[in-house]
């Protein structure tokens, strides 16, 4: 955050939004989002039936009719939304902290274009549909590895070099994907919908596959929160306070990339969430990283579930379109504020 006002980064948490009321408020928001997301959809199901379906699902009874919609389609889709929204937001917040740059987002090091390239390859080569996420995951992590290798100076990973390498790797991989799409005849729509992000067809198995990546990446980031706070004082100061700056940077970048890669591999590249949510959290709850990452996770999870609900029930059709439509103006507003 030091590009603008260092004072903001040092601002204490706002008292009105601290402690128990904040935790309760965010928990309530998340619960409301999950309830709405599970209760509403293109098929109208009365609330009593939704509750009954959840009960029958939890207790492992026979599912019939609308139960299947609630338990096998909507709930995993909502849980996936929470996981992906949280992963992107936490990773975005960590990236912004580690680069001390308010415009950093989880896709900074080429995860998105790597993921898209893997997905495009799988689609164009007509691999089975289950292979798409796996292929995307491998290329996403590969893209980050290439970025890190390009940015390395001995044992150091200077932030500017990391960002520039990420941009270059991202551009090259995007160009490769585009070339593949243009050769891939009539499958362009499938690739396009992947690059816009879509939570459709997320089942319990997908949720369980994504969970470890998000939990591992997000968990490590939370453990590093204090060190990220110290890093806001500048590399030199942080070093003199005993923070291993280079190792910290590498660890944050890797953890955030693992969480992001796991998330986008299954649902595609959902834009703007990882950029915006940390800013909202910072404005509302302050800039201490432990608070920031936790509140970002709750806001991002709830936000993506609600965005997906809009996507499912309106003509906006894809969650990535919703987040980008709402996120674009915010992003511009943020840019304007940077100039002041």
């Amino acid at each position: 955050m030091s590009t603008g006002t260092p004072a903001r980064a040092a601002r204490p948490d706002r008292p009105w939004a601290a402690g128990v009321p904040r935790t309760l408020g965010l928990a309530a928001l998340l619960v409301v989002a999950v309830i709405l997301g599970t209760g509403l959809g293109s098929v109208t199901i009365p609330p009593g039936e939704v509750v009954g379906a959840l009960w029958r699902g939890v207790t492992g009874q026979e599912l019939a009719g609308n139960d299947v919609i609630v338990w096998s389609i909507r709930l995993p889709r909502v849980v996936m939304g929470v996981l992906v929204g949280a992963a992107l937001s936490v990773s975005g917040g960590a990236f912004q902290g580690v680069f001390r740059n308010p415009l950093a987002d989880p896709y900074l090091l080429g995860v998105a274009s790597g993921s898209a390239l893997g997905a495009t390859l799988a689609v164009v080569l007509d691999w089975p549909r289950a292979m798409i996420p796996l292929s995307a995951l491998v290329t996403a992590l590969g893209a980050v590895a290439v970025t890190l290798a390009l940015a390395r100076e001995g044992r150091r990973f200077p932030p500017t070099r990391l960002i520039l390498s990420g941009v270059v790797v991202g551009s090259v991989l995007s160009a490769a994907s585009t070339a593949l799409i243009l050769r891939g005849e009539d499958r362009a729509r499938l690739v396009l919908s992947y690059t816009l992000g879509d939570l459709g067809f997320s089942g319990w198995r997908d949720v369980l596959t994504v969970l470890p990546y998000v939990a591992l990446g997000g968990g490590v980031l939370l453990l590093l929160a204090r060190a990220l706070d110290t890093l806001q004082l500048g590399d030199l100061t942080a070093r003199s306070l005993g923070v291993p700056v280079e190792r910290l940077r590498l660890l944050v970048v890797l953890s955030a990339s693992v969480a992001t890669a796991g998330a986008v591999a299954y649902v595609g590249i959902i834009g703007f969430v990882g950029l915006i949510v940390p800013h909202i959290a910072r404005l509302a709850f302050g800039a201490r990283h432990r608070t920031l990452l936790l509140t970002s996770a709750a806001l991002g999870g709830a936000g993506l579930v609600l965005a997906d609900l809009l996507a499912r029930t309106t003509v906006l059709s894809q969650v990535g379109i919703v987040t980008t439509l709402l996120g674009g103006p915010f992003f511009l507003w943020l840019l304007r504020r940077q100039r002041d």
Binding site: V43, V68, S72, R129, L182, G200, F201
Partner: protein, 287 residues
């Protein structure tokens, strides 16, 4: 009903006389295009247009086609010139065509028009347009009589299949997948019209549009008896789909490549495509 529309289309076309050039018509990009003389060197950038030209016995006048044109076999020997979105402009200009046929998509028309080449956009999108645009093409290339004969033959062959399927006792509810996102087809799209004619009841209502993206839970709710355009293994693996009627009864049919290509092309192979589709939906009628 449809037969009537066709008769009107034919009646409107007047008697089949030789086209008098220069001929000025409004094309599907809403441009007034003047064709100076009967086209002898034609480039077609739409697979269905290439098929139609060959059906009008003009295959040998094709000096270039788009990369997706693959039918009839003769077309495979014609020079490939990219497609609507990535046209090989230099190759097209070098072929010295006196007519380039495009659709209303892509940006190829402006560039070529500036290069002084006659470009005509033809874009059959609805079922009725398949026939009316075919007649227009016939006029443009001075094959009006042949175009009318072709339309009449197509209408007759379609009617033959319709007579069969109309007699079908059980018309299954069907979900037709055109892409695994999933996208499906509405009853007003020309593929949707064919699905209905083939004796199925489309689960997609008209209100969802011609090529809607479908929420998976909607398909589960509709619980169709038949699924087309997806294979059983894929369908069964989707969350909540394993218990659907079509999956349980095994009526999930991935279309052969040739059928899905001829079904999606608004050209002269539609009657044959309809017959194959009807045979998949009602094998009992074709024994």
């Amino acid at each position: 009903m449809k037969i009537l529309t066709l008769t009107t289309t034919l009646a409107l076309a007047g008697s089949a006389a030789a086209t008098t050039y220069p001929l000025t018509l409004t094309d599907d990009l809403n441009r007034r295009v003047t064709v100076k003389a009967e086209p002898r060197r034609i480039v077609s950038l739409l697979p269905s247009t290439s098929e139609t030209l060959c059906a009008l016995n003009l295959c040998e006048r094709l000096v270039g086609v788009d990369q997706y044109s693959d039918y009839p076999a003769q077309v495979k020997n014609v020079a490939k010139m990219g497609d609507l979105y990535t046209p090989n402009i230099e190759a097209i200009v070098a072929a010295k065509p006196d007519l380039v046929l495009v659709s209303k998509y892509g940006k190829v028309s402006e560039t070529l028009t500036q290069a002084g080449i006659t470009v005509f956009a033809l874009n059959p999108e609805t079922y009725d347009e398949v026939f009316s645009k075919l007649l227009t093409l016939g006029r443009v290339v001075n094959r009006e009589a042949a175009a009318k004969a072709l339309v009449t033959t197509m209408a007759r062959d379609i009617a033959k299949t319709e007579v069969l399927t109309r007699a079908a006792v059980n018309k299954p509810t069907a979900y037709f997948e055109i892409d695994p996102t999933p996208y499906s087809i509405g009853p007003k799209s020309f593929m949707g019209v064919l699905l209905t004619k083939a004796g199925a009841r489309n689960i997609i209502p008209e209100s969802m549009g011609d090529f809607p993206k479908v929420d998976p839970e909607f398909i589960v709710k509709a619980n169709p008896q038949l699924m087309l355009g997806v294979d059983r293994k894929t369908a069964a693996a989707r969350p909540g789909w394993s218990g659907l009627n079509a999956v349980k009864s095994g009526r999930v049919i991935a279309l052969p490549v040739e059928l899905s290509s001829s079904l999606s092309r608004p050209g002269p192979r539609l009657p044959a495509a309809l017959r194959s589709l009807a045979r998949l939906i009602h094998p009992e009628l074709f024994r």
